[in-house]
Amino acid sequence: MIGIVDYGVGNIFSLCSSFKKIGAHAELIKEPERLAECERIILPGVGAFGDAREKLRASGMEEALMREVRAGKPMLGICLGMQLLFEKSYEFGEYEGLSLVKGAIRPISDVIPADYDIPHIGWNVLDFDDCELFKYIKKGDFVYFVHSFYGAECEESVIATTEYGARLTAAVKSGNVYGVQFHPEKSGDVGLAILKAFCEIEVK
């Protein structure tokens, strides 16, 4: 079973529907102790970093999630869920992250030209390295992004980028921990193929 961490942040309706569509058994997990039953974990998230981190902690999910991840279960953070994996975020202040991926979350306005729209909203090309997560998609495929902050100082973990006036981190990997800045559940067949690949990552 795939456990989708439900800590009161973000729209998880489409995520649940996506797993159903690819024939995977996924459940929303509200009780931290139930994460132990899950074979792999999805950390979703929409909204502000500080607030989400606090909810993750307060719900008791953080502790359970860290335990399962350290035990080697594959975990995929999506959008803000990916950002939470980092050490730090500078979104509306300075916040500590889960430190599962080395680096910091910074505003895209730091690196993109001034005449580019913020947020970065829309379909953009995914440039990726060989990774089990991308085994079913091809170079040049498009995925859907919605974000104003990005993963910085994370060179060693980057497995995909996208071009938006600058090279922006699109996906990271650190051991059994994966993160994608885009929304696979909103990226049509390409996104579903990435979720399918995640479901097939070997559990050690």
Binding site: N11, S14, V46, G47, H120, G122, W123, E163, K186
Partner: protein, 252 residues
């Protein structure tokens, strides 16, 4: 590089898709779920659902339709129509919407933009405005284009972005349903004052109207249309091929 988006808009009433000309004379077109799936398969980058029912019962039917669509279509869904309170945001986001568009609700209570952006993030809040040129001034209209609010449209949109709107839909009442092309002058005026994505709406009649849109106002992120897609006058796959051939970056 980011691509220009093509967005079909589905006006939904009593569980069916309808579209009027100049907001009058509605004609039943098709089932929202079927149409959404069809559009998604032929390359639509996003879908907008406008709930034009006024009754509580209509709202219920709409939410059911939204759920059904969101379970089968995996591209972004924006919902608008009848959004007045945070509870309305909650209702549609809980039924599968990714973004929520406010229009008259924000005119009545501009604070809703701030509150919603704070709770759900700016990326979730789309400010949609029906605009007409009145005595040389771009003016905001409320209630589906019926009421002249007297508000300066450019100022309204600029402050809307300040309040936290993450995206703007500019719907020109003057070109809507006329099918002679988008309101490029109005769109230019809006793009000059904001740095969030702007979606053009109202006036598309043929493929070339989209080419002119993205050529003449390159800041525009997306083109939105309804009847020309619903009646098959413009096929999305074909439109995207044309745009690509013209050097406009689209997802194919």
């Amino acid at each position: 590089m980011i691509t220009k988006r093509i967005i079909p808009c589905l006006d939904v009433k009593n569980g069916r898709v309808v579209k009027g000309t100049n907001f009058k004379g509605l004609a039943d077109v098709s089932s929202p779920v079927t149409l959404a799936d069809y559009y998604s398969r032929c390359g639509a980058d996003e879908l907008v659902f406008y709930d034009i029912t006024a009754s509580a019962e209509g709202r219920g039917i709409f939410t059911d339709i939204l759920r059904e669509t969101a379970s089968t279509v995996f591209i972004p869904l924006t919902v608008g129509g009848g959004i007045n309170t945070l509870a309305d945001f909650e209702r549609v986001l809980g039924s599968g919407a990714d973004k929520v568009s406010v229009n008259s609700g924000a005119i009545r209570n501009p604070a809703i933009i701030e509150e919603a952006a704070k709770r759900y993030g700016s990326q979730c809040v789309v400010l949609s405005a029906d605009i007409s040129l009145v005595d040389g001034k771009y003016t905001v209209f409320a209630r589906g284009g019926r009421d002249n609010t007297g508000l300066d449209a450019i100022e309204w949109i600029r402050t809307g972005v300040e309040r936290g709107a993450g995206e703007i839909v500019v719907n020109s009442i003057d070109t809507d349903g006329v099918k002679k092309g988008f309101d490029l002058a109005m769109l230019r005026a809006v793009c000059d004052v904001v740095n969030v994505p702007v979606i053009a709406s109202g006036g598309a009649g043929k493929k070339e109207d989209f080419t002119s849109l993205f050529r003449e106002v390159p800041e525009i992120s997306a083109g939105l249309a309804a009847s020309i897609f619903h009646f098959g006058e413009v096929e999305i796959a074909d439109l995207k091929k044309t745009l690509a051939a013209e050097g406009i970056n689209v997802r194919i």
